[in-house]
């Protein structure tokens, strides 16, 4: 079969190879199977990426073709490998550690995409906070695993043996093939129409952002030329962006009483950083969402506190007392603390303390 006949289906074949590889990895088996699975998985992932990019190259007809940037590619592969290992590892703690690896590589890709703030935010929040919480819980909720025997890795039964692997992998890779087709296909109407921004558009947006930050602009201009103050152009804008992407700012310099007007070119260094643009966007375009996000976090805190309470069951009298009503029974209004209290749920040592018995029952726990 000539290669050209298969290549339209390169995406699908890559997906299938990757599926097979993942399947071999996911079952608990001997090392040979695992090696084979690893090789297949790597091959599949590489093929997939290559097919995606090749499609891009073909669309270019060779012009404006570029080479694959190496560092992001390596980081991508590390991310995929880490994800695969996370999914197949029988010990949950290791899986969490591999997840941290995935997070770090993804952060690296963010860097390659010039989203520095996001990269470090990801590392700080995800790897630093969320995953540490996961680790805590994993260590608290562990059951005694079976010991590793020879080549078979140890772990609890529900960690070692996957659940319906065939069905899951089939479904997953069906999705992979369809998503891949919709994103990377060049032979149908499915190619993404969203054009990457042109240089002109990109430059325009970037310098508009700087315009929206007046103090920053003033500081920049002052640094460029002492005592310079930006003045609007004839069209009312402060920064003029040319077609090739270069920008300049119209300034007024007051130099010992002499007022002169200059056009200062702005270089790429003076463009706002990613952090600044993200901040600007957050505050100017999405203030409501910002507030909502904070509310979500507040609710999460409340939820966590509520979940962590110890369950206390009150007797009837105590309930009525708590509600401010009269007691009914003729019993001693101060019964001893041992009766009428049951702690719901477990008896194991929970990390959360805080039985809050309201009202007159305060202090009993």
């Amino acid at each position: 079969m000539p290669l050209s006949a298969i290549t339209p289906y390169a995406l699908h074949i890559a997906a299938a190879i990757g599926a097979l590889g993942l399947y071999l990895l996911i079952r608990p088996g001997n090392p040979r199977v695992r090696t084979a699975g690893t090789l297949l998985g790597v091959a599949g992932a590489a093929l997939f990426v290559a097919a995606a990019i090749r499609g891009l190259n073909r669309a270019f007809d060779g012009s404006a073709a570029g080479s694959l940037p190496v560092v992001p590619a390596v980081m991508g592969l590390i991310a995929i490998a880490g994800a695969a290992r996370m999914v197949t590892h029988p010990k949950p703690v290791f899986a969490a550690l591999y997840f941290i690896l995935v997070v770090v590589s993804t952060a690296g890709m963010f860097l390659a995409l010039q989203a520095e703030f996001m990269a470090f935010a990801l590392i700080i929040v995800y790897a630093g906070a969320i995953l540490i919480t996961y680790m805590f819980v994993l260590m608290l909720a562990q059951q005694s695993p079976t010991e590793s025997v020879g080549d078979v890795e140890g772990g609890t039964n529900y960690d070692r043996v996957p659940r319906e692997p065939i069905a899951a992998i089939a479904v997953g890779f069906l999705l992979l093939a369809t998503l891949g087709d919709s994103l990377f296909s060049t032979q149908s109407e499915l190619r993404h129409t969203a054009r990457p921004a042109t240089v002109t558009d990109a430059a325009e947006r970037t310098w508009r952002e700087l315009e929206a930050m007046p103090r920053r602009l003033d500081a920049t201009v002052s640094k460029l030329r002492a005592g310079a103050v930006p003045i609007p152009f004839a069209d009312g804008r402060l920064i003029h962006v040319a077609k090739d992407g270069s920008a300049m700012v119209h300034v007024q310099v007051a130099d010992g009483g002499v007022v002169s007007f200059l056009d200062l070119p702005l270089s790429d260094d003076q463009a706002p950083t990613n952090t600044q643009s993200v901040g600007l966007a957050l505050v100017s375009s999405f203030p409501a969402s910002l507030e909502l996000a904070s509310v979500i976090l507040l609710m999460a805190m409340f939820g966590a506190v509520v979940l962590a309470r110890k369950q206390i069951e009150l007797g009837d009298d105590e309930r009525r007392e708590a509600a401010g009503m009269r007691r009914i029974s003729m019993d001693d209004p101060d019964p001893p603390s041992s009766s009428g209290f049951t702690s719901g749920g477990s008896t194991s040592s929970a990390a959360t303390v805080g039985g809050t018995a309201p009202g007159a029952g305060g202090g009993r726990s």
């Binding site: 993942l22 992932a45 990426v49 891009l56 270019f60 404006a64 570029g66 694959l68 992001p72 590619a73 991508g76 994800a83 695969a84 996370m86 999914v87 949950p92 995935v102 997070v103 993804t106 963010f110 995409l113 010039q114 989203a115 703030f117 996001m118 990801l122 929040v125 995800y126 969320i130 919480t133 996961y134 819980v137 608290l140 909720a141 609890t156 529900y158 960690d159 659940r163 319906e164 479904v171 997953g172 999705l175 992979l176 998503l179 990377f184 109407e189 190619r191 969203a194 054009r195 990457p196 240089v199 990109a202 947006r205 992407g245 790429d268 993200v278 966007a281 976090l297 805190m301 979940l307």
Partner: protein
Amino acid sequence: MILRPAPILAETAVSAAGVYAASPQLLQLSLAVSVLLFVIGLVGFLTRRNMIMMFLCTELMMQAAALAFVTFSRMHMNTSGQVFVIFILTVAAAEAALALGLVVLLYRKKETLSIEAWSELKEC
């Protein structure tokens, strides 16, 4: 919903510093990695029986979504995508906290993290 075909314009230039635009190959790569991560996360969610592992795979899927968002944000030079990633992080954090609390409570009930212990919605 018919997407019109459009070639990637040749005037997309690669600038040295890469400030203004990103190379198409990088974008394709990011999208491909995002899709692969998502699918791996889905497979993991469907196969793992440990409740915490399931949530971890969910987090992986959210990671993939975040990567896709950032890719598109870079593609269109629009910071809205990255703002949305912030919100994804927020929600992921909130959800992780609550989910882990619930998982702990469930663990206390049945002394096991296996999700098959909680199959009371079944029909028979």
